[in-house]
Symmetry: C2
Subunit: 329 residues, 2 copies
């Protein structure tokens, strides 16, 4: 299937792996690229720019196809050396970067100057348009369904994708809530040129996380997430578990602040969940697409199935609906 | 376009008008049915069962095609005479009823016994399955995007529709967030057999509401709604205006109760908005699909456009994507 996105980024299938802290390692990104999608390494999962350079080399050794690197730029008290990470990407010869976060634009000039193509992920039409005006190469429009940060406006893909498609001119990925061929066709019908998947790729054989976590994605349904930090204007969708339930409970108290939950959301706990498989050890990302995940296929098996399902829906079920009308007329 | 829904309910296009308090009058329902969709009178918009009988007669005089009646059954202190309304529908010869609300099932036996086909609208997979087990004829699965009551689980259509399609066997409508041909194709791809539209039908020539309100649907974008009553476990999506903003503000206070907003949400204020066009006179329904509404067409113009757009997407853009793949292979 060729779309404006596959053509612009030189890939076979319009399926991109989202940047995911702790999960976007070479083993997963290379599997996605080898299967014809676009694999994405998560830059800040590596402790240093030098370590990212090594991970890029590892990925390159595992696939001859294009892959990218995610850089999510949040304003923090003690920021990581974003520009050094960006320079490591440039120096490594990677030519695709997915950016996200309110400060991402600070990195675009140096990336663009080096010939890197930028996919910018955002959660509103107006942010998509301001990124397009600054010459990003593609938009990944991220709906309320997503794992991670859906923003504060709560617009699902069914509305956000066509609203963005009405105005965005560059190729556009639909992100948040995608996990099968039905979703891919829906995204294409709504005006996107492909899909970005995060949670669904976590439930694959190659995802470098503990099998208990993969099983949790299967066991939980679409109701198995919590939105936390709404009160702090930094909403995040995470897996529903004893820890995120407690975060929700504490932040629902009058006058609650981040201090009341700080011990529950220390940065290393998500990593501990993914590594040890203790799914109640801390908060970890999960999207509502959990409700559509029923197995743990290989990455190639998943991508092939999505493409076959999408083409069957388009050429079969949908085509027959129209043909019936024409016959009846 | 023929789907399982159009075949089961004897209509031309898989587009159903949602039951809408104050809006679902004969003038709109008949226009939808005459244009090949399924128009729906809103039962409780009529003050008495006898008045509903008259409105049904009025609608029948305006269309020879099938139409239905909505009955939304909420548990209230002083309930309207639901069974008398249902009997009026049965006696009038209407053979399609859309039910909604947690107490809807109390009416199903008498409706089924009279040969009425039931479309039950609900916001979760498990409620859809329990309705199916009680022999309703179709499910209208209503996503987080919708105007009115989205439930408390906040699952958008992109997830809810395929999750329901995986389990529901009777024909299924997708509801919440639909307004154009892109959405119709997305719904069909996700596994629905048609769409239900409310807000979009409010912004038509025939909708019996003040033009100022129609203009407000155009002026507001996808962010122009508020979710109110979450704290009361009776969440409702309404248009964002000075009144709903104030309801949100007051209910955000610690220990706030319904009493704190009762004066703002008196039952007749929505009617006053629709009749006078003073869009800040009270709360009134609006879905996130406002972001996709850019004109006020006739009902027939709208339905024809949606069908043409849907068929063009299926037979054009989507079909070409697949053909390209086959050529390239």
């Amino acid at each position: 299937m060729q779309t404006r996105f596959t053509e612009a980024f030189g890939i076979q299938h319009p399926i991109v792996q989202g940047g995911m802290q702790g999960v976007g390692l070479a083993v997963l990104a290379s599997a996605v690229s080898n299967a014809g999608g676009l694999g994405i390494l998560t830059g800040l999962t590596q402790p240093t720019p030098a370590a990212l350079s090594q991970e890029i080399e590892r990925c390159r050794a595992m696939t001859a196809r294009p892959f990218g690197v995610n850089l999510t730029v949040f304003p923090t008290m003690k920021p990581p050396p974003y520009e050094a990470y960006a320079q490591a990407i440039i120096d490594s010869g990677v030519r695709i970067v997915e950016t996200a976060g309110p400060k991402a634009m600070t990195l675009w000039p140096m990336l663009k100057a080096a010939g890197v193509k930028i996919i910018h992920k955002c959660t509103s039409v107006r942010h998509a348009l301001s990124a397009e005006a600054k010459n990003v190469d593609a938009i990944s429009i991220d709906g309320f369904e997503c794992a991670g940060h859906p923003g504060e406006e709560d617009i699902p893909g069914l509305i956000l994708i066509p609203a963005a498609a009405d105005k965005v001119r560059v190729p556009m990925l639909a992100s948040g809530g995608f996990g099968d061929g039905r979703g891919l066709v829906a995204a294409l019908a709504l005006g996107a040129d492909g899909i970005n998947m995060g949670t669904r790729f976590c439930a694959t054989v190659e995802a470098p996380i503990h099998d208990n976590v993969k099983q949790a994605y299967l066991a939980n349904d679409e109701r198995g997430t919590n939105l936390i930090f709404r009160k702090l204007h930094n909403t995040a969708r995470v897996a529903k578990n004893t820890v995120s339930d407690e975060v929700v409970r504490r932040l629902a108290m009058p006058d609650a602040t981040f201090k009341d939950v700080a011990e529950l959301v220390r940065g290393d706990q998500g990593r501990i969940v993914l590594e040890t498989g203790d799914v109640d050890a801390g908060i970890y990302w999960a999207g509502q697409v959990q409700g559509l995940i029923h197995d743990i296929p290989s990455v190639r098996g998943l991508i092939d199935r999505i493409m076959t399902e999408a083409e069957t829906i388009i050429g079969g079920r949908l085509a027959r609906l129209v043909v019936q009308t024409q016959t009846a007329a």
